[in-house]
């Protein structure tokens, strides 16, 4: 170890804190100007930390499962009755669905419909969330090794969760639809009115650039429009939960604060997403990832 004079050592000690504060400030400004600057570092650290976070989040999952089980025992009688009734109803629906499937197949055959491209799913577990009030992202324990790629849609059985913004080899980051930087082209189901779903870090994202706002009703289903070629059309997103002068808002179908397992879906569309481009090329301040441009330009004119 190098021996330093006491004065020099005291000097270094005194200036460390201000120097590091300045350095963090500088990094903040630099990172804000060029969003891609720290991306390699980010994915690198995520890859390294993923196994540890994976292990650390397991006991939580086990504890939750145990609580769930106890809760399940308490309500077992009512649940059983409800399920029996539901089962009766669903059996009827099954008959209807089977009939419709056959009919649909016959009609598609008549019309020579081109079938949708094959879809592949990767199931992953959420191992970390954003733990703060200013970003809405989660980390999942699968990455490029499992076939994930930037821009893929992330869903659960209930609906859209978000999309992959950073993909490391073992972990990936999902930008949730509620994040301040999330913009998703959507439409109101049935009416085909286009809109953009814009997150603002609250639980209920806003609905911008609605084609005909007066036609909007609480309870309308919001689905992806497929414009911009990032998400396939008709993925369920949420339900209109507020209309009025403050602007319409959407309640997501997925309980985003309680994500356990999610599906990263490859619809064969993510090839349309460019790799990060240098900041000079990117217009606007909201572009957290280059992919944003592909999602936003589809804003229909009022």
């Amino acid at each position: 170890m190098i021996r330093l004079s006491p004065q020099l050592r005291a000097g270094i000690q005194r200036s460390t804190l201000p120097a590091l504060i300045l350095l963090s400030g500088a990094m903040l400004v630099a990172g804000k100007t060029d969003q891609t600057m720290f991306e390699t570092l980010r994915t690198g650290l995520s890859d390294v930390a993923a196994p540890a976070l994976d292990v650390a989040s397991r006991p939580l999952r086990a504890a939750e499962a145990a609580i769930d089980r106890v809760r399940g025992f308490i309500g077992v009688y009512q649940v059983n009755r409800r399920l029996e009734e539901e089962n009766q109803r669903l059996l009827q629906w099954q008959q209807v669905a089977l009939k419709l499937t056959t009919e649909n197949r016959q009609l598609q055959g008549l019309l020579k419909v081109v079938p949708d491209r094959a879809v592949s799913y990767v199931t992953a577990r959420v191992i970390a969330n954003s733990g703060g009030a200013y970003v809405r992202t989660v980390m999942i324990n699968a990455g490029s090794q499992a076939g994930l790629a930037r821009g893929q849609a992330v869903i659960t059985g209930d609906g859209l969760v978000g999309r992959l913004t950073e993909v490391g080899s073992r972990a990936a980051r999902v930008l949730l639809i509620t994040d301040l930087n999330s913009r998703i082209p959507v439409k109101i189901e049935g009416s085909n009115t286009g809109a953009v779903l814009a997150g603002d870090n609250s639980e209920r994202p806003r609905l911008l650039y609605v084609g005909s706002p007066e036609a909007l009703k609480i309870g309308d289903r919001v689905v992806t429009s497929g414009e911009g070629g990032v998400f396939p059309p008709d993925l369920p997103v949420g339900m209109v939960s507020a209309v009025g002068p403050a602007g319409p808002r959407v309640e997501p179908y997925v309980e985003l604060s309680q994500l356990g397992y999610v599906l990263a879906v490859d619809y064969g569309l993510s090839g349309a997403l460019p790799q990060p481009v240098p900041p000079a090329v990117r217009p606007g301040r909201k572009s957290k990832a280059a992919s944003e441009e592909l999602q936003t330009p589809a804003q229909p004119a009022r």
Binding site: L28, S57, L60, R173, S257, G260
Partner: protein, 182 residues
């Protein structure tokens, strides 16, 4: 910026290397626990600022064992793992340290309510400052509701965190030394 660092001489020296690592370890654990995906509705948005509590505690009682560069590292790791803007976490923890160092003499040796009041001022101030910084960086007015909830929760949880950290300190850092002295 005139920041005075309180250096080791006024604090009793800790000989055990393991004990010297306790503040850094507990702060790192606090930062990690905050990002674990607990299945509590709204938890991600309202997670109490656990690392902030650890930094306040250790800077107050053992500033020599939680040096600035450790805070920089922990803050940076936090930013990279949570996907926030790089530098925000480090800046928060370092400024907290700077503020606590400057006002340390008002709180050290005081009763717990005074320490808690100090945390309310420093922690609450930091969280409001962070909100203002994000509004500035995103150049839009972010709804302060979550920040306020989070702030109240953080201040409310502080006594428990302070008790845990204080016990850890007594057992692992102060304890062995006192026993040896006897």
């Amino acid at each position: 910026m005139a920041l005075r660092e309180f250096t080791a001489p006024e604090l009793p020296r800790v000989n055990s290397n393991a004990a010297r690592l306790v503040p850094i370890l507990t702060t790192t654990i606090a930062a990690l626990v905050a990002i674990l995906p607990l299945q509590i509705p709204g938890y991600a948005a309202l997670t109490p600022a656990l690392a902030l509590m650890a930094v306040y505690h250790w800077t107050l009682y053992r500033p020599d064992l939680l040096p600035s560069y450790a805070l920089f590292g922990i803050g940076l790791g936090e930013d990279l793992l949570t996907g926030s803007l790089v530098g925000v976490g480090a800046l928060t923890l370092l400024v907290t340290r700077a503020v606590v160092l400057r006002s340390r003499r008002h709180f050290v040796g005081r009763s717990f309510p005074a320490v808690w009041a100090g945390f309310t001022l420093v922690g609450g101030g930091m969280m409001l400052g962070l909100w203002a910084l994000h509004c500035l960086l995103e150049s839009s007015l972010i709804n302060p509701r979550n920040t306020i909830f989070r702030m109240v929760l953080t201040i409310a949880v502080f006594p428990a965190a302070s008790f845990l950290l204080g016990s850890t300190q007594r057992v692992l850092i102060d304890g062995p030394r006192l026993m040896r002295r006897r």
